[in-house]
């Protein structure tokens, strides 16, 4: 069997890859292992998994983390929806139609990619103070919603590749710009918009710095922020409880990955290259 021989020739490669994979997954292993330990199990065997797996850690961690899920849903939901809506409108207009100022507007949008949000942390914080938005969802939603440049760049590239005849015939039929956006642009861009959407959800789910500055109210805190507060706050948790909270914080992204693996990877790759 030639295939078997080929597969056998790959075995050294698999072994080397395994050598890379083991340390890569070691932190995840540690997280899962410790999350099932009560105080005494941890004292006796802090690293390797022990039986029985202690689910009460998850109950305690969940009672602390549960409120954050609604906050994340609202903040990320509104933020991503706004980016996709306004970003696609802008990208469609700039990519498909000629009008005075079009080029200038495109560069106006693009230049923002050179302004990472952390280098404007201080003035953005001052702006939120002045707008009296500290400790509101808006303090996080608005800067997120404004981070459209990456989405616009990707969508602009996509819309530019569409055939011109398509739009010419639509205009002969009397369709306005907005009609063309609704009936042609949006449906065609749906796959690429979901990839962008998944990337943005991942990006915002990971954000810790900005929420930690503007959301001191425990009721409003996001998952990543609350996780750090749980670990490093006043009542330092048992290691098992802390790790359980870490696992809980990852579950939504795990689910997102499982239901949209290809989209997820496509979005992240685009994000890495253009972001």
């Amino acid at each position: 069997m030639p295939t078997l021989r080929i597969l056998r020739r790959d075995i050294p490669l698999h072994l080397v890859l395994l050598l890379f994979a083991l340390p890569t997954f070691f932190p995840v292993f540690v997280m899962l292992s410790i999350s099932g330990k009560d105080f005494f199990q941890y004292g006796q065997q802090p690293l390797l998994p022990t039986l029985p797996f202690n689910f009460s850690n998850y109950e305690i961690a969940w009672s602390f983390m549960s409120s954050t899920y609604l906050n994340n849903t609202i903040i990320i939901g509104v933020g991503v929806a706004a980016i996709l809506l306004f970003g696609s409108l802008t990208a469609f207009s700039l990519a498909r139609f000629e009008f005075p100022g079009r080029r200038a507007l495109f560069y106006f949008v693009l230049a923002v990619l050179a302004i990472p949000s952390t280098v404007i942390l201080v003035p953005l914080f001052m702006l939120m103070v002045r707008l009296d938005l500290l400790n509101t969802y808006w303090a996080v939603i608005l800067p997120y919603a404004a981070s459209q440049s990456f989405a616009i760049l990707v969508l602009y590239t996509f819309f530019s590749t569409l055939s011109k005849e398509l739009f010419e015939s639509a205009q002969i039929d009397g369709a306005g710009f907005f009609d063309m956006y609704i009936h042609m642009g949006l449906p065609l861009a749906r796959p690429i918009m979901s990839a962008i959407g998944v990337f943005l959800i991942w990006l915002f789910w990971n954000d810790y710095i900005w929420p930690s500055l503007v959301l001191s109210d425990p009721e409003l805190q996001t998952v990543a922020l609350k996780l750090v507060v749980f670990y490093l706050g006043r009542g330092i948790p048992e290691p098992g409880q802390g790790m359980a909270a870490s696992v809980i914080s990852s579950i939504p992204l795990v689910l997102l990955f499982l239901v949209s693996m290809r989209t997820f990877i496509a979005g992240l790759t685009a994000g890495a290259i253009k972001g």
């Binding site: 306004f86 608005l142 802390g242």
Partner: protein, 313 residues
């Protein structure tokens, strides 16, 4: 760039024409409405803060108001040895991670690419992407535990008889920076390796086949064909890595708060503390402005490199 006419095929009126074409303006006005929300949001949440941050860096700010102090914030900045130390730390983080990004993900990408079975390639790619579903904060907290006095690293060291090496990794000013850069070892998980992998896929199969026919070894094939052809990906990842470390300080913030003392402080973190601990907003803005300039230099380099590459093609 291709020319995008208005769909109907009308030619755009020359800008020099005196009389404004009201008919046409009325016709295209919806387009301005469609881009308006984006423009307004970018103005308020990017352009205004960027300009205001620059102006604030020349001011002293407190609750009562602000006052112009000229270059005082910058003078303080450049005479603050601790802050200069934090720039050295930043350079260390950036250089180390650049070295990492041109080796580890590349090795894994080539190893996966060498597999004969496409199914195996697919699953190994999934394996190394999956860890990104764990939020970075959670990963950092696990590593924080690993480095703690009774944490994973010391347990492992004792288990293999190297108990004499155990220490509080984050509490020792001589090793804390090394502890920080070894977080995420072996630095493969994520999408960097996918960028190399995509580059490998773009290499013409005929070139590789010819090399195999000529009897080139796997290593020779890598050194003479793949490595030179992957230079664009490498350049991209180097610049992305530089920008990433210039702008992020989550790792030292959660791991060490910049400690012990100032041993793992970075400028971004100092800026963060200027907001929520020291309320020294003018000083924080000065740091932000310098980081902004550094990011700008890197970005301009990236654009120039990309452009010269496009010209070459």
């Amino acid at each position: 760039m291709a020319k995008y006419d208005t769909i109907a095929g009308e030619t755009a009126p020359a800008l020099s024409r005196k009389s404004i074409n009201w008919e046409r303006l009325r016709h295209i006005s919806p387009l301005y409405l469609m881009v308006l929300p984006t423009i307004v949001m970018l103005l308020i949440f990017f352009y205004y803060p960027a300009i205001n941050g620059f102006l604030t860096s020349f001011q002293y700010v407190d609750v009562r108001g602000s006052q112009w102090v000229g270059l005082e914030n910058y003078q303080r900045l450049f005479s603050d040895t601790r802050l200069l130390q934090s720039f050295r730390n930043l350079a260390f983080l950036a250089v180390f991670n650049v070295c990492v990004v041109v080796t580890m993900p590349l090795i894994v990408a080539v190893l996966i690419f060498r597999l004969k079975s496409m199914t195996a390639q697919y699953w190994w790619r999934i394996v190394f992407v999956i860890p990104i579903v764990v939020p970075s904060v959670a990963i950092i907290l696990v590593w924080r535990w690993m480095y703690s006095a009774d944490g994973g690293l010391n347990i492992l060291l004792s288990a293999v008889g190297l108990g004499s090496l155990t220490r509080s990794w984050l509490g020792d000013r001589d090793v804390v920076m090394w502890a920080l850069v070894f977080t995420n070892f072996p630095w493969v998980a994520g999408i960097n390796f996918l960028i190399y992998y995509a580059g490998l896929q773009d290499i013409q199969q005929e070139v590789l086949d010819a090399a195999v026919v000529d009897g080139a070894s796997s290593f020779r094939r890598f050194r003479s064909i793949e490595l030179p052809l992957l230079r664009p990906q490498m350049r991209l990842l180097v610049l992305l890595t530089l920008v990433f470390w210039l702008r992020s300080f989550e790792l030292p913030l959660i791991m060490t708060n910049g400690g012990p003392g100032f041993a793992s402080m970075v400028p971004g973190l100092r800026m963060y503390y200027a907001i929520n601990r020291d309320f020294d907003l003018g000083y924080g803005s000065a740091i932000g402005t310098i980081l902004f300039l550094l990011v700008l230099v890197v970005t301009v380099m990236q654009i120039r490199l990309t452009r010269s590459r496009d010209d070459a093609i």
